[in-house]
Symmetry: C2
């Protein structure tokens, strides 16, 4: 190539593609690298090889896990090759990323079961026909000492200790097994083995993904671009979605449950969910966001559309429409407003682990005094989850009340939220 | 075994053996462990397995290298098994012990040549017929990733960074390759492979030897005892013996050279040399030391005996006696005293890189004035290395003079030493 030749302008459609691929990401490193690579593979007439390594440690996946899968599916939609690596070998080591302790090593059997379940569920997001599905035991297990030494020579101890969790543990005199230092090397070798052009991962993977670049270079390969996606906030709008926190939406949830859970998210999560969970391109998401912003698209409607879209993705359009209709019918029957105020139980309403309803009603401004509250209850004007409260002196545990709707009279509704 | 039974007393001959094995060592760790082990193997009716790993990186060995070999030979003399591991595999990694940089990895061919030369020379110290001679490539090279991970899980990063040289380099932000962290693990695995009871090494090996204990425990083996020997001070009495420092005695040196070099060591090295280089037991060394101490054994005689003993070890008794006779004859012919004063060239005698002999003679109190010195020279009364000095105004370079004997008249001798 003539060195004096100016770089040709990047075609518009590649910019469009890049914008779609980059929405919802946290980091694309090094900057501009992916864009250049899109241009390059176009010139070479080949697809990008987009790597995603998954640790088959959790058998069930929820929408939080689909963020990165959805991003990988976008690469597929643009004709690129999704290389899905089941980290069956690395799972035996256990990724220490973000962990404060050495993780237990899984057995072969546990790994196989988890891997099968994972693939089955990932198929709800990816076009598995076109996925290059591999297991890293294929190349890691046969590696001999010579290769291990070559691998270890590709980085330094200081570089390894730069990783946040390692640095913190080392600083706190908490043990870091040498085994854990092997993990980023093995994961990096995966990129060598599959000749990755770009690797996707959560933000907790940034270090490992960057380490893979070093290793690819040590093996004489062009280092991959890296792309990280955020952790998904759960339906409570507060914590990262996880099974433990109970704020998750499973990919196997029934359509109506899925729809209902999505309807329960706070409004500020709508656009992130559109961005991270639907595979929508940058133009569609931009359009939705601006219409919600200027008031021409009602949030309640936007959230219904989001829920229907997601149910449609995991089932089909009929299931999406049915879930929506069912949701609307139930709310109509219950005569509840779709958007209702929420409030947590004030701490001082909990006495010896119990809540006295009249006191709670006063605190939540559903009655002006304990006396009025008791009178409203006696008159049958107070409902908990559509059931008339009969005994004003019944003591509730806070757990019983969380998530319940208190209705006072015909029009006053309030949902008890978590603290 | 009945738990209430008292530990039987340790037999005297095992104490004797232990005292012989321990003279000249720096550390035997853990304390008492080796003594207990001597008792144990006696009960089990088997020899100890004493491991020495050598890095075939330097083809020529000198007496400094024999200290640990001589110690291993003592184990042989007590009927134990010397397991000599040629670290042909670890040499490819390069032991970073005490190094401030990653060492260059040797080629297979260099390693083979060095290993052959090493064994040939080690045979001058060890009874090679009874040595278990192995190469660690036999077990390290076939190790697969699974085994490597098991090995890395046996220790922590913090433990590794406790090693002095690693700690210093890490503290100074000097890179430590992850490859270097593998070295102590590989060396430790050697102990697993050969089921070592005790490992010998220089004091710079203490960390690696202790690490091997961790690894043996992780592999369910009783951890080895460790025994370290000191670095040998060279013939100059100042620096560690090394080829680079020019203060070494090669095991291939001719008998007369070997004898002469030993005669040149300062008196204070005599007992260390007896201890570290002759294989003498604790009683013999103790006896020599006390006789020198009380004046009944003249140092010049003691040094001659030492030199003859060492030449005898590397050649035979006849060669030892011949070297001694030759040494004595030369000194007699030269009419030089065996012990003569030494002095360095005072700095101010060197002018523009040259030394004027009369001035030097005055400074060294071999003449009372430049005039007297010139007169002595003119009269043919001054010799340099037995050659009469003819020109009083000849300028010498300091290098020419160092090591030379100046003789003034019949009885005044002085050897020019290094600064």
């Amino acid at each position: 190539m003539d060195e004096a030749a100016p770089t040709p302008p990047i075609p518009d459609e590649i910019f469009e593609e890049y914008r779609d691929l980059s929405i919802g990401t946290v980091d694309i490193l090094p900057a501009d690298d992916l864009l250049q690579r899109l241009v390059m593979v176009r010139q070479e007439g080949r697809p990008l090889r987009a790597k995603l390594g998954v640790d088959p440690t959790a058998p069930d996946i929820h929408l939080g896990h689909t963020v990165v899968l959805r991003k990988l599916a976008q690469f597929q939609q643009y004709g690129h090759t999704a290389v899905l690596i089941i980290g069956d070998y690395t799972a035996k080591v256990g990724d220490p990323s973000g962990r404060s302790k050495l993780r237990p090593r899984l057995t072969e059997e546990e790994i196989n079961v988890n891997a099968a379940t994972y693939v089955e569920q990932a198929a709800k997001v990816l076009d598995m026909e076109r996925v290059e599905l591999v297991r890293n035991s294929d190349w890691l297990s046969p590696l001999r000492m010579d290769e291990v030494l070559r691998l270890t020579s590709s980085t330094t101890v200081a570089r390894m200790l730069e990783r946040d969790d390692f640095a913190r543990r080392y600083g706190n005199n908490e043990p870091i097994s040498m085994l854990e230092f092997m993990y980023p090397l093995l994961q990096g070798y995966d990129s060598v083995a599959v000749r990755a052009d770009v690797e996707l991962g959560g933000t907790d993977q940034t270090f490992n993904l960057m380490m893979a670049r070093n290793i690819m270079e040590a093996y004489g390969l062009p280092p991959q671009s890296i792309m990280t996606v955020p952790l998904l906030v759960g339906t409570d709008g507060a914590m990262k979605m996880s099974k433990t926190s109970g704020n998750y939406i499973g990919v196997n949830d029934a359509p109506e449950d899925m729809f209902g859970k999505i309807m329960s998210i706070p409004d500020e999560l709508m656009i992130p969910y559109w961005t991270l969970l639907t595979g929508a391109g940058h133009q569609e998401v931009g359009d939705i966001a601006s219409r919600v912003e200027d008031g021409s698209y009602h949030p309640a409607e936007c959230k219904r559309d989001l829920a229907e879209r997601i149910v449609t993705l995991y089932y089909d359009a009929a299931a999406g429409a049915a879930a929506r209709a069912s949701f609307d019918r139930i709310f109509k029957e219950r005569n509840r407003p779709v958007d209702m105020p929420e409030a947590a139980i004030p701490k001082h309403c909990i006495k010896d682990g119990s809540v006295w309803l009249p006191r709670l009603m006063v605190e939540l401004k559903l009655a002006s005094s304990n006396g009025e509250a008791r009178r409203l209850i006696r008159q049958g004007g107070v409902r908990l989850e559509d059931v008339v409260v009969k005994n004003a002196d019944h003591e509730y545990s806070p757990d019983e009340l969380v998530g319940c709707v208190i209705q006072v009279g015909k029009r006053r509704f309030l949902r008890i939220s978590t603290a």
